[in-house]
């Protein structure tokens, strides 16, 4: 049984103009000890999917359907008070996007992490601070720096501190939303290596949310590609990069330059991602798809397992 199973999740944002279908029927699972990548362009719903798992949506966000099964329990049916005590941060935590800037500037970094430990576990402040020092060691920050303020940390150190915060209560699943995006290349590489090391040492499951396919290739075991609120393809990382089946995945992979391999002309995907207030009928990718047929315009493709462990939602593949 996978650690996490998301089944037909639908999360909408209620706006005056109508519901924005940010996540519209998404299903995937995450095994224990694996890094699952959720990739897609801005506005495809990948962050909303992550926030839905932690039930941390903004006030106008609603989970309108689906199930999220974590360790055998549908956590969407768990009462908020119980969810807060037993799940959020205790068993599932998150490294938020742009989180290096999310530390409170007037409190010492160590205290902020100790606070999370004390909220969830019945330990003294001394005990909590001792654990923070151990966490700092684990994420590669000098433990003596627990008494520093955020401004005394560099960007890379702040991101390490946010990872320490996510690990504070020994969770089983960490959702990392663009954990390297705002960092410089050299620091990015170090954070990726840190995440890989933590996964191995702690047998951690990670959902890595990013728009950067290179990061996905470096770190993930399996990948789901999202487009306009839907998962269009999901498979092991090798299949996604070496044998992508969905035209959108193919398009993305042909659109990114690399410092290795022969230099060939990149191809961009025509058009632009749709407005999720009024997504296109049929397959949401059809207005940009080079292979679109009448059926694609009319009928939404089902998301099916075409090979063992390889799911695709495309009329042309099925």
């Amino acid at each position: 049984m996978p650690l996490l199973e998301v089944k037909n999740l639908r999360t909408y944002y209620i706006t005056r103009a109508g519901p924005v279908r940010a996540v519209d029927g998404v299903s995937f699972f995450v095994e224990k000890g694996e890094v699952f990548g959720l990739a897609g362009e801005s506005g495809c719903g990948k962050t909303t999917a992550g926030l839905s798992i932690l039930r941390l949506l903004p006030r106008y966000g609603r989970i309108v359907g689906g199930e999220i099964i974590f360790d055998g329990v549908n956590i969407l049916e768990v009462r908020e008070s119980v969810f807060r005590r037993k799940y959020r941060w205790k068993r599932i935590s998150m490294v938020f996007q742009g989180a290096m800037n999310a530390l409170n500037p007037v409190f010492r970094v160590g205290e902020q992490i100790a606070e999370a430990i004390m909220l969830h576990e019945n330990v003294s402040k001394e005990e909590a601070m001792k654990r923070v020092k151990a966490l700092f060691e684990k994420v590669g920050i000098e433990p003596s720096r627990v008494d520093n303020y955020p401004h005394e940390f560099s960007g890379g150190m702040r991101q390490r501190a946010m990872i320490a915060l996510a690990l504070a209560c020994n969770p089983e699943l960490v959702i990392a939303d663009e954990p390297t995006t705002a960092l410089d290349v050299v620091i990015q590489g170090q954070i990726l290596d840190l995440l890989r090391k933590l996964r191995e040492e702690l047998d951690l499951s990670v959902i890595l949310i990013t728009h950067d396919l290179s990061t996905i290739a470096e770190l993930c075991n399996r990948v789901g590609i999202m487009y306009a609120g839907k998962l269009v393809e999901c498979a092991d990382v090798r299949s996604i990069f070496k044998d992508p089946l969905h035209p959108y995945t193919q398009g993305l992979i042909n659109a990114i330059p690399s410092i290795t391999g022969p230099k060939t002309r990149l191809r961009s995907i025509p058009g632009a991602p749709p407005d999720l207030l009024n997504p296109p009928r049929g397959c949401r990718f059809h207005p940009r798809c080079p292979y679109a047929t009448e059926k694609c315009r009319r009928e939404e493709p089902a998301y099916i397992e075409v090979r063992r462990g390889h799911w695709v939602a495309c009329h042309m593949v099925a």
Partner: protein, 331 residues
Amino acid sequence: MRGVPRPLVRVVDLKKWFPVRMGFLASLFKKQQHWVRAVDGVSFDIHRGEVLCLVGESGCGKTTTGRTILRLIEPTSGKVFFEGRNIFELDKEEMRKLRRKMQMIFQDPYESLNPRLTVFDIVAEPLRVHKLADGAELREKVVKALEEAELKPPEAFLSRYPHELSGGQRQRVGIARALVLEPEFIVADEPVSMIDVSLRAGILNLMIDLKEKFGLTYLFITHDIAQARYIGDRMAVMYLGKIVEMGPIEDVISDPLHPYTQALISNVPVPDPDAKRQRIYLKGEVPTPISPPPGCRFHPRCPYARPICRDEEPTLQEVRPGRWVACHLVA
């Protein structure tokens, strides 16, 4: 120098220091003025028809270099020759005339277009400023520029506002605005970093095609070495306001000579799950450009640093034909 073609742009020992703002008391007691040495002695040539990529991490001075070359900001010292003339010696009127030939494409297409102007007015503005066209001719030139930027059909875009366009379309308007003056040299500052991944390749391809078609010359500023490799001919790597390495891009990527370039390239993620690469770790992070380390600015983080690196600043030297490096250990 007979036989060697004159570079279109020659930058000589360019410096741009910004004053660190002092508090009232500090200024009363005449404490020493501190400077952010954003660009601190940079020299390079750009030849006609070439794409030179300026690569480096945030804060290395690449954007300031680009803006100073266009004299959008005045330099602290140094010279920039455009077709042999030092642009910092030109008066206002001469500079205005020269600006026609030197244009810029900005990073953020959401902020660099006036939201209250239509696409027509945005692209027409440079022509009006330079009094190059009006009436039917103005419209014709604007339509042609939009067409060159592959906004098709151009007429459909004329009366639209930036908020009605996608990020990729906005950046194409920014390109049309630069093109409409028929420039020779364009500084492009991270032109695709704010654009959706699926649309980036379209903008890069457009820039390549325009370069071929009009014989343009680019200074392409980016933090993304894969992008630099895709569009560029040569690359200059900056660290803390200095160029540490410069050369043909393929050569620099396959055989980086400066320890910083080596680390940078080893950390670039590769979109291939089978690629097994050894990352080079660097100690610490980039120091502040207010008080850069003495000697070689990279020495506190360099795995090979020796005493000489602390005492003496290395100069950028041509160690092989076309390969320039500022490192005591390579020279």
